[in-house]
């Protein structure tokens, strides 16, 4: 082999090596172990504005300890009062209930449900229960707040995420939207009736707290922070058109968002906006939001005598209408408005 050929061969090998390294570094730019949504959610404000507005809630990162090794007990062993609030998640043939009385002290449970690694997150200040796929990493509570709402972080890249808009604020995942799963915010009585075989998060959490006491107030009976028409921390957008703690059900797509006042939805059963359709789910006393299908006439949609929904001659359960379902989040009105001030909402008749 003459020197020219040797140099050419070395140059070729170098190019291959560099290309290989470049492709490796491109792949490591995003963390493959944390699933993110293919289509990001619409945002009400630029990410820079969120980061600037984010403030300390007091505790340091992990100062509010997430439950990393949850234990579960049977429905009978749980001893919960029927009206106690729980966060329910059913997936892959498994149903689990996470009592609000425990989550108010921990805000995050890193769990596996029906084979899916999921972070069950709850923010007491905004009344939001939201689930996110977590892949091989776990989530922690950052101690920061954005619009009074939980800011979580993934322990692998330490990127911060806003809970309500499920969006990365800092770090490697800035701008990414977490892959969200639909949790149910309901009473123990309703959840157990729908899922008699449910398992319940045990108060043997690995941490020592007073789970008989909610530092913010009470849901049974409703009192304290949860019912007062005021908030504790500053918000980016404020509106007085509803009681600040009115429960609304919200959803978002890549382009738009919508919110429906739960009480009005319960009364009317079906509500629509330009891009969304919401139906009331009496099983859990919550709303189910669908993306309004293009070119489909919805005049034939009605309530069946049994309380389900009729469409084109067929009867459907609230969660089984033949439209594109969205993750529907129960949330205090003030918090949804703080994140999505331009949300669509049904016109008051």
């Amino acid at each position: 082999m003459n020197s020219t050929r040797l140099i050419a061969l070395l140059a070729f090998a170098t190019v291959i090596l560099v290309l290989g390294l470049l492709s490796d570094s491109a792949a490591s730019e995003t963390d493959p172990s944390l699933p993110v949504a293919e289509t990001p959610y619409v945002l009400g404000d630029p990410i820079e504005a969120y980061v600037e507005f984010m403030m300390s809630g007091g505790p340091p990162p992990d100062g509010i300890p997430a439950i990393d090794n949850p234990r579960f007990i049977s429905a009978d062993e749980a001893g919960l009062r029927p009206e106690a609030m729980v966060i329910g998640f059913a997936h892959g043939g498994e149903a689990k209930a996470y009592p609000q009385s425990i989550l108010v002290h921990h805000e995050i449970v890193n769990d596996v449900v029906g084979g899916l690694n999921v972070g069950v997150t709850y923010c007491p200040l905004t009344a939001t229960a939201q689930g996110f796929e977590r892949g091989e990493t776990t989530f922690g509570v950052s101690g920061q707040l954005l619009n009074s709402n939980l800011v979580l972080f993934d322990r692998e890249t330490e990127s911060y995420f806003s809970q309500i808009n499920a969006t990365g604020l800092t770090g490697e995942h800035r701008g990414h939207t977490l892959a969200e799963v639909n949790l149910i915010w309901t009473t123990w009585e309703r959840w157990r009736a729908a899922h008699p075989d449910t398992r319940v998060l045990s108060d043997r959490t690995g941490h020592l707290r007073n789970y008989d006491r909610d530092p913010y107030g009470s849901y049974t009976p409703l009192r304290g922070y949860y019912v007062e028409d005021r908030t504790m921390f500053p918000v980016m957008h404020r509106s007085g058109s509803e009681h600040q703690k009115e429960m609304v059900v919200g959803a978002r797509t890549a382009d738009v968002s919508a919110r429906f006042v739960l009480r009005a939805l319960e009364e009317e059963r079906i509500q629509m906006t330009e891009n969304f359709l919401a139906v009331y789910d009496p099983t859990f006393h919550t709303g189910v939001i669908y993306e309004r299908p293009d070119g489909v006439e919805l005049d034939g949609l009605g309530v069946s005598p049994e309380g389900d929904y009729e469409f084109n001659g067929a009867v459907h359960a609230p969660r089984e209408l033949p439209f594109e379902p969205l993750v529907s989040v129960d949330v205090f009105y003030f918090a949804w408005h703080a994140f999505y001030p331009d949300s669509e909402h049904p016109r008051v008749p």
């Binding site: 300390s56 007091g58 690995g206 020592l208 007073n210 006491r213 504790m232 500053p234």
Partner: protein, 184 residues
């Protein structure tokens, strides 16, 4: 302020049984209040139960100057979280509050022994109240429905060390002006 005089006065006063009882009594009242403000002592609890966890967790922070409990005693209607570092910090603040209030009491009752007037003595006890507010400020804001600002969070986070420093300063100032020989 002469540090030797301050320490000597403190030692003299501590040597008196009545003074010691007063300091210990005030501290013994203040510490549970401090732990209540921290929510380490709280209402609510069902049956008797005692649980412990890994003792090394006592160093895990739950706030700027608050730490994880390593044991929990549940009684009907009352729950006590045992956090050694919180008890240590609370014990130090309680002792300082006890000393401050005790010497303030001397200043009020026996102005002859202290070279300043009564109102100054009362002012000197203010850091004791500040120390009490160190932990329950967010709880007070919640009860009163006050909006918490980032400035307030920053202030609350340093309230414990600031109150310890203020308690030391006021204690030093009062002791420097106290003549132990004139204390009855």
């Amino acid at each position: 302020m002469n540090p030797r005089h301050v320490l000597q006065t403190l030692a003299d006063l501590w040597g008196r049984g009545s003074m010691r009882a007063l300091v210990i009594g005030i501290s013994a009242l203040y510490l549970p209040l401090f732990l209540f403000a921290l929510q380490d002592i709280s209402l609510g609890g069902r049956a008797f139960e005692f649980l412990t966890t890994d003792w090394t967790r006592m160093f895990d922070r739950t706030g700027s100057f608050t730490f994880e409990p390593i044991a929990r005693l549940t009684l009907p209607g009352l729950t006590i979280l045992l956090s050694p570092i919180n008890i240590l910090i609370g014990g130090l603040i309680s002792l300082l509050v006890g000393l401050n209030l005790a010497v303030t009491w001397i200043a009020i009752r026996q102005p002859r022994a202290c070279r300043f007037n009564r109102s100054t003595g009362i002012l000197a006890s203010l850091p004791a109240l500040l120390a009490g507010g160190a932990c329950c400020a967010p709880a007070i804001a919640l009860i009163l429905g006050l909006q918490i600002s980032s400035l307030m969070i920053s202030v609350v986070q340093v309230l414990i060390p600031v109150s310890v420093i203020l308690l030391l300063i006021t204690l030093g100032l009062i002791l420097a002006r106290t003549n132990p020989e004139l204390v009855e």
